[in-house]
Amino acid sequence: MRLQLSPEMEAFRDEMRTFFTTQVPAEIRDTVAARRHVGREQYVQTQRILNAAGLAVPHWPVEWGGRDWTPLQRHIWREEMQLASVPEPLAFNASMIGPVIAAFGDQEQKERFLPATANLDIWWCQGFSEPDAGSDLASLRTTAVRDGDDWVVNGQKTWTTLGQHADWIFCLVRTDPTAEKKQRGISMLVFPMDSPGVTLRPIELLDGSHEVNEVFFEDVRVPAENLIGEENRGWDYAKFLLGNERVGIARVGATKKLISQAKSLAREVTAGGRPLSEDPRLTARIAELENELVALELTALRVVANSADGKPHPASSVLKLRGSELQQAATELIVDIAGPLSLASFADGGSQVPDWARVATPEYLNYRKVSIYGGSNEVQRTIIAGTILGL
């Protein structure tokens, strides 16, 4: 056992920190730090800068841009990126479809998609969930029927995050409706969002933002070569992909950053003539949050250090469960620091309320999503109870 980072890892951390804080444009990082929505161009620009330096997809196989880093290095990379308010490489590309194609795609698909995916030349979106298939994803109904050299896709997806920006979608579709288990008979297809028969309807979220969509498919023709891996094995790929999704979802660095912002904001707000940062109730709350965060970070380190054989550590459900709770607690903390100012949510010119206080409640409301998507917290508890505790 060893507590401190080795000198090599210290140097690695410095290298990451320096890169992120000097090579990614300040204006993009300021947008993230101010907790404003990041635009498509800003995501693309950032990911291309990272990719050029070999920092967009370090966890991929080396021949497709991976770096063969240790789990600790990946952790440091991610943490420093979040602390520097760098928009992370688009998860749909870097953590989801990229690794799936690298693991299960054929050579032609790898060559066609992986470089473009790493560089965000293709913006991917995830077409898994359907109106009646949320937590119970395997009950999905969108069908793909073989017709000559094409698959013909019909059905509906929902919750498609940033689908309005996407060039391509990776979809789970039912290819064998007769399979006796509903997890069988599902395949993974990829196709352009501008294929004839694809339509998108925006869903407005509680904070007024437009980040998710419904996507409808009407006789969409998809060439046979766009099937990823084997027919009817899509469920296995989905499980592999969702396992990857969960690793990044703890977002320890991002929560740390939020709490450090909360501390300085609490110095700006006065209550009864004294800075709020001197209120023992608030400082005690921050201390507890930080302590939880320390425990989460240490658990994340234990988990990454033990998943070297490629299999997720059983405790990885803890990361999603607690990681989402702490992100939510941090956004709530900032609303409470804003107090009455938090009401001025949609003010623009002519308001004396600082920007951070205006975005506080919309962000808090928006962050209710993190305990719902990517396998809801109830699903994580079910995994802990069933798979880990054998209940």
């Binding site: 937590s135 009950s139 407005e204 006065t270 209120d279 100012l341 003010a347």
Partner: protein, 385 residues
Amino acid sequence: MDFQYDSEQNDLREAVRGLLQRAYGDPEARRRTVATDPGFDEKTWARLAEMGVLGLPFAEDDGGMGAGPIEVGIVAEEIGRVLAPEPFVEAVVLAGGLVAAVGTAAQRQAVLGPLSEGASVLALAHAEPGTRWSPSASGVTATEDGGTWRLTGVKEPVLNGARADVLVVSAVVGDGTALFLVRGDAEGLTRTGYRTHDGGRAANVTLTGTPAELLGAGTADRSADVERAQALARIAYGNEAVGAMETALRTTAEYLKTRKQFGVTLNRFQALTFRAADMYVSVELARSTALWASMVADTGGDVVAAGDRVRLQTSRAGRHVGKEAIQLHGGIGVTAEYSIGHYTSRLTAIDHVLGDGDWAAARLAETVDSYPTVDPLGAPYTGAP
């Protein structure tokens, strides 16, 4: 001790519920209303006036109905039940309440009459950027100039500040806080309105030598009156929050009974039904506290302490119920197109208008050492020795 409403109170509830149900029984109607200024429906406001609701707590001589905090609580709960955006607590309980408490007979009639009739919307301009839930003013000052008072400074956020016909403004005079009436069309008054996250409206109100009428006779420090009006509003908001929580809970329970995943409705998962049961516990404890606090106010007890208790209880309950309501709905819970998230948004707003749970707990903590056992039926609440 009796927690039952009498028949008149039940009639009031039925009438208000019927009216608001017609207006906002369909959540789409509320969505349409809050989408455009002033953020509430003037027709519904007028109907509430016709029903006597807007004059409820004011003396009959002042144009009101002469009812009390219990009736106010009934209306507030119904408002919360459908998230009616009409500013009942803000205009009637808070701003109107201060005029009733402090104004001269002439001012009470001049201001509360039109408010009760629905002819004039009132707003309290008291909050200042950088201060938290204080009963005193610090950023707006008043000076007398040839018999006319003039106000200078900034108030924000002022709920319904852009729409209001008359603003009740607090300002520093000497080392105290005085209250003033400012007409919406007064010179030197700039109001910049915007939407709040819960669909309401607030404004930055900037006063630059704005002429104002001193509220009440003389410039005595009115901080205690503001504190009392805020406490009564905290109690009313407690009732409003209970109404909102009640609907959030019912809607969630209904959803669990109809939403199917894994081939069964969600209410087949005990993990979820127990959580709904815990929500119920929170709602009922908050309801008891809100009812009790309304009765304390009605019997002339210590409203400030009762207001703090109800604030603490409904703050905790509102967060619990609001978060769980969204979570148990899954993704649909975070959409603007479905009603449940708006309940959470409103509960979050109520939590930050007049002091959140931590704030109330800190205030209550200051006095825990001054009494041996807590007794909601005795001192300090009844004022008995």
